[in-house]
Each structure stands twice: as C-alpha cells, then as structure tokens.
C-alpha cells in the first residue's frame, strides 16, 4: 500500500513537471512579443524602456533558464505578478478559487445525487421510465450552458425571484450556476449508472442471491448497485475533474468572479503569468481528482487490492 502510494506520487510529480513545461512553452511560443503588452502600448516603445522591461522580466535569458526560474518560483509559491491587475497572481487565485471550487463541488453533489438516482430508476424500472430518463437527460445535456443559464435566470431569478441572478458569495448565489453546470453531466452519469447496473444484474451471483429468497430491494442495494459502484465512482470523478476546467461559460453567464473568468480575461489581455498559473492550477486539480478516484477503487473492489 505504502509503496503503491509512493509510486503514484512520483508519477504525479512527473506528470505535473511535463505539463508545466508544456504550459510555459505554449506561453513562450505564443505569437506576439510580450514586451509590447508589458510596455502598455505602441507609443511607449522607446528602446531604453523596452530594454528595461526585458531586463526586469528576464526576457533575454534562454528559454530553459526562464522556465526553470518560473518553475522554481512557482514551487516556492511565487506565481509572479499579474501584468493587468498589478497584483500577486497568488492573491488573485486565492480570491477566486473558493468560488470555482464551491461551484464545482455543488454541481458535483447535484449531478451525483440526481444522475445516479435517475440511472438507478431507469435500470430498475426499465421500459417507459428508462426511455423517459434517456430522453430527459439527453435533452438536459444538449442544451448549451448559456441557454440553460438564461432560462434558469429568467424563470427562477426574475419571474419567481427565488434565487439571486448573479454574483457569488453564498450557497444561495451558487444554486442556479451549479444547476446549469450539473445539467450537462446528468446524461452521462445516469447512463453509466444504468448501464453498470444492467450489466451487474445479469451476473449469476445476483440470480443466486435472488434464489436465496432475498427481496428485490435488497438485491438492488446490496448486490446490483454495490457491484456497479466502481464504474459509477470513476465516471463521477472524471466528470468532476472535467468540470474544474469547464466553468467559464457558467461563471460569465452568472457574473461569478471565479477562476474560469480570470483565465479568459488573462488570455484576452495577454496576461501570461496569470494564464500560466491558472492552467497549471487546473491541470493540478484535474490530476488530483483523477488520482483520488484511482486510489478509491481498491476500497470498492477487493480484487483491485491484491492485483496491485
């Protein structure tokens, strides 16, 4: 167990290093000389000024040196200074990460609860219920988030006045955005749940349990759902990890100042320290979630324990 975790962590560090290299490289290779943006406009382009900026940001150093300097700073917690806000990138992130994390966590709770419940319902009832769940969740997923956001805002925010229409700060504020975000994941989670349950239901040991007189409810809970848990947890984890990097549309539709809007703003204004930091953060979060899912698997399936 300990060696397995250690090996896992080593793998993670390697992955993160590789990603950070790609992220930094992409920003370096992006079109346009950062100096132009740093200087703040064409009229400021006096040679002395340019040289001063290049020196300040070490832009004349070789690529590798620049990368290593950036990496070293990042590891020690110094992500640089935003070109646009003239703030520490770290501070910007701390201000915005809670909103995005809260949004994703809220959405995850919603799609796990409703997606799994709908999937179980579809598997157990079959027939029309199954068809209705497929149709409903497919529709919910195919509605683009900004349309769903608009619809939710006008119905629950404006018409009924149940929820605030924008801004963050409380669970209350996050409800409509979280619903919008969760809608997109509902179909896949309910499908995976249904499929896994149907597969499990066909297995011999379920028939054996039924033949021992167990009630249908207990069979579903203790055997079918229990057996289907592996794929369900994996899929929920993967979807959550994906959401971490996919909150932009929802954040801007609901005027939430989260990491997604920060990233878009940073890209538009060539604020590359922020861009790099946000991308690195998203990749880290993605890897963290998927690793967690992987580490949980042996708890769900004892066969995975002895295999590794």
């Amino acid at each position: 167990m300990v060696t397995r975790v250690a090996r896992k962590v080593a793998g993670l560090v390697a992955t993160l290093l590789a990603t950070s290299f790609v992220i930094f490289g992409a920003a370096y290779a992006a079109p346009g000389d950062p100096v132009t943006f740093l200087a703040g406009g064409k009229e400021n382009l006096t040679p002395e000024y340019l040289a001063a900026i290049r020196a300040q940001y070490h832009l004349d150093d070789p690529f590798l040196v620049q990368y290593l300097r950036w990496l070293g700073d990042a590891v020690t917690g110094d992500l640089g200074r935003s070109l646009k806000y003239n703030d520490q990138v770290g501070d910007l992130l701390t201000a915005r990460v809670p909103t995005t994390l809260g949004l994703v966590a809220y959405a995850a709770v919603l799609f796990v609860v409703f997606g799994v419940a709908l999937g179980v319902l579809a598997a157990v009832r079959g027939g029309r219920t199954d068809a209705a769940v497929v149709a409903g969740t497919t529709f919910a997923t195919s509605v683009p988030p900004f349309v769903a956001a608009t619809a939710l805002i006008s119905l629950f925010g404006v018409q009924l006045g149940w929820f605030p229409v924008g801004g963050g700060g409380s669970l209350w504020h996050l409800t409509l955005p979280a619903i919008t975000l969760a809608l997109g994941a509902l179909a896949i989670i309910s499908r995976v749940t249904r499929q896994a349950m149907v597969e499990q239901r066909e297995l011999d040991h379920v028939t054996v349990a039924r033949a021992s007189g167990l009630s249908e409810r207990l069979i579903v809970v203790r055997h079918v759902f229990r057996g289907a848990l592996g794929p369900i947890v994996t899929m929920c984890g993967l979807v959550t990890a994906g959401l971490l990097a996919g909150t932009v549309t929802v954040e801007s539709a609901f005027q939430l100042s989260g990491v997604g809007t920060l990233l878009v703003g940073a890209i538009n204004t060539h604020d590359f320290p922020v861009t790099q930091a946000v991308l690195l953060l998203m990749v880290t979060a993605y890897i963290a979630v998927t690793t967690l899912v992987e580490l949980v698997q042996p708890l769900i399936d004892p066969r995975a324990r002895s295999r590794s």
């Binding site: 033949a211 007189g213 167990l214 009630s215």
Partner: protein, 318 residues
C-alpha cells in the same frame, strides 16, 4: 412427496420447448439423479423448482414442493420457499458469489435478511457450517473475498450457504463437476453425509451417468428436454432399457471391460431442432419408421418407465 414435477413444459422461443412434459419426483431422504448431455435442460429443471425461469419463458404444468405449486405461488410465498425450503448448489461456485463482498456476508446474508436471525447468531451458525463442511480456519475464511479462495473451498462455501437455511430439498447442479477428483470425492462424501444426517431430499444433477448410478437412489435420464428413462440406479445401470441410456453407458470405458468404446454418433440437438417423433431417433442405431413420426409414449419397465417405441413392441413378450 417432497418435490413432484408434473407435465412441466417450458418454452422460450426456439423451435422446440426447452422442457417437454417432464415428470419427476423426489421423496424426503432420497437422492435422485438427473443425467443428460449439455443443453438437455438439467439446469432448467432445477431452476424451475425455484421459479427461476429463462427470460420470456412460458411454463406449463406443475412444480409441487411439499404440495405447493411453485409456479403459481405469490411473491411472499415464493420468497419464503426460496429462503427456507429449497436450496440450490450451483454449477459454478466462483460466479455464484459476489466478488466484492466477503464470504461471511454471503453466508450470513440469507440468515439475517430472509430468515430474520440476529447478526451474532447468524455469524455463529456460519462458523459452525464452515467447520461442518470441512473448512479449516473458518474465522479467517469469513473475512476473505471469493478471489482469495480456491475452487474447492468455494464449493464448500456454497454448500455451507445452501445448508444455512436448513432446507428440506437440496438441488445440486453439477456441484462437483468443476473439481479435481480428490476434491470431488470429498465433496460428494460431504453432501451425502449431510443429506443422510438431515434426511434431505436431493436432486443430484450430473452429466456422468456412472457417477449418478453409484451415488443416487433413482435416476432420470434427460434427452432434449424430455425424460427418456427413469429407474432405480442399480436397475438402470445393470439393464438400461432406452437406447440413449445404453449409449451413454457405452461411452465410458471401464477397466476389464472387453467392449470397445462406442460414442453416440451425431451431436445433441439444439433448440432449433424440432422433432415430430422421438428426439433421439436421428442418432439411434435401432430406429424404426415409427420413431421419426410419432413421439414415443412412456412405458412402464422394471422399477420405472422409459419412453421408446421399441420397448413398447417388446413389452408383451416380457
């Protein structure tokens, strides 16, 4: 009669029924063999006793357990029959256990959730049963998962689970076919032991006619979903009346037996093959014209019955 099956016909698509007009009975304390080639419908009969029918199957006839017709029981009655009266030991022990749950859960689940025993009591009983079926270190086994046990050990676990409910009828569906000979012998002795001790009725399913003849009191030979011969084991072994039974016996070589091995020609029929007459006629060396055109009636022979046109012709002579 503990188990009495009357005119059981099960259809599930296909050109012929999976079972046709099967009649079979098991008395308390009796070991009854059910023999046939793969696909002849042995498992289907055993599963029908628990009303585990194939999907989209239509069943006609009666399956009486202690006088109650299983096929027309309500849900509650069916659950209590499955929980307390009839237990089945399955063909493949590895796939009969939930791979993600402990052996202990498998053993106690039925006692706790269907028979309403307390957890502690069920645990104690499970330990007792594991010891009774010859498992060493029952405490450890209870905590293990199926993949940590060998096939023979799993078979013992499955037998222990079948005995947990103190059933009156045991259905052993090829309970020993997947085991090596020594484990097989141990398991057979074990089954016979508990059967005699508790006076269980047992339906012993196997494709090995020699084993059945040695192990059972009476034997039913099944071919393509019909019972072709049913007689006491010794009589059937000494003097098989149906050509199929004789053919099965001739398939296995015996030490000191000068006769050559004679496999039955042809293959067992699938569900796509329909028969107007005797299902065995296409493979039968003695077939006459009547065999292909009309189904043979069941004729009383020494100790039981056999379904063959040829026997009917012989009958007045004996």
């Amino acid at each position: 009669m503990l188990l009495e099956i009357r005119n059981l016909t099960i259809e599930a698509g296909g050109n012929r029924p999976i079972l046709r007009d099967v009649a079979l009975s098991v008395a308390r304390g009796e070991v009854v063999g059910l023999v046939g080639e793969s696909g002849s419908g042995k498992s289907t009969i055993a599963r029908a006793v628990l009303r585990l029918l194939p999907q989209n199957a239509a069943a006609r006839g009666q399956v009486l357990v202690e006088g109650q017709d299983v096929l027309s029981l309500d849900d509650g009655g069916l659950r209590s029959l499955r929980a307390a009266t009839v237990s089945m030991i399955y063909q493949d022990p590895r796939s009969s256990l939930n791979p993600v749950r402990r052996i202990g859960d498998f053993l106690t689940e039925r006692m706790v959730h269907t028979l309403g025993r307390g957890r502690k009591e069920a645990r104690g009983r499970a330990l007792e049963l594991l010891a009774a079926v010859g498992m060493r270190d029952p405490e450890l086994r209870m905590r293990q998962y199926p993949h940590e046990l060998s096939g023979g050990m799993l078979q013992r676990v499955v037998i222990a689970a079948a005995l947990a409910a103190d059933p009156a009828l045991l259905l052993a569906d090829e309970a020993t076919s997947a085991l090596d000979v020594t484990t097989q012998a141990e398991t057979l002795a074990l089954l016979r032991g508990v059967q005699a001790e508790r006076e269980l009725g047992m339906l012993f399913i196997t494709h090995d006619l020699h084993l059945a003849a040695a192990y059972c009191d009476r034997i039913y030979v099944l071919y393509a979903g019909t019972v072709v011969e049913s007689r006491p084991a010794s009589a059937l072994f000494a003097d098989p009346r149906h050509p199929y039974t004789a053919g099965l016996l001739a398939c296995t070589p015996e030490l000191g037996d000068p006769r050559p091995i004679k496999p039955i020609p042809g293959r067992p029929p699938s569900l796509d093959d329909a028969f107007a007459g005797c299902p065995f006629a296409p493979r039968c060396a003695h077939a006459v014209a009547a065999c292909a055109s009309s189904p043979p009636p069941s004729v009383a022979v020494e100790g039981g019955s056999a379904a063959c046109h040829l026997i009917k012709e012989e009958a007045p002579a004996c």
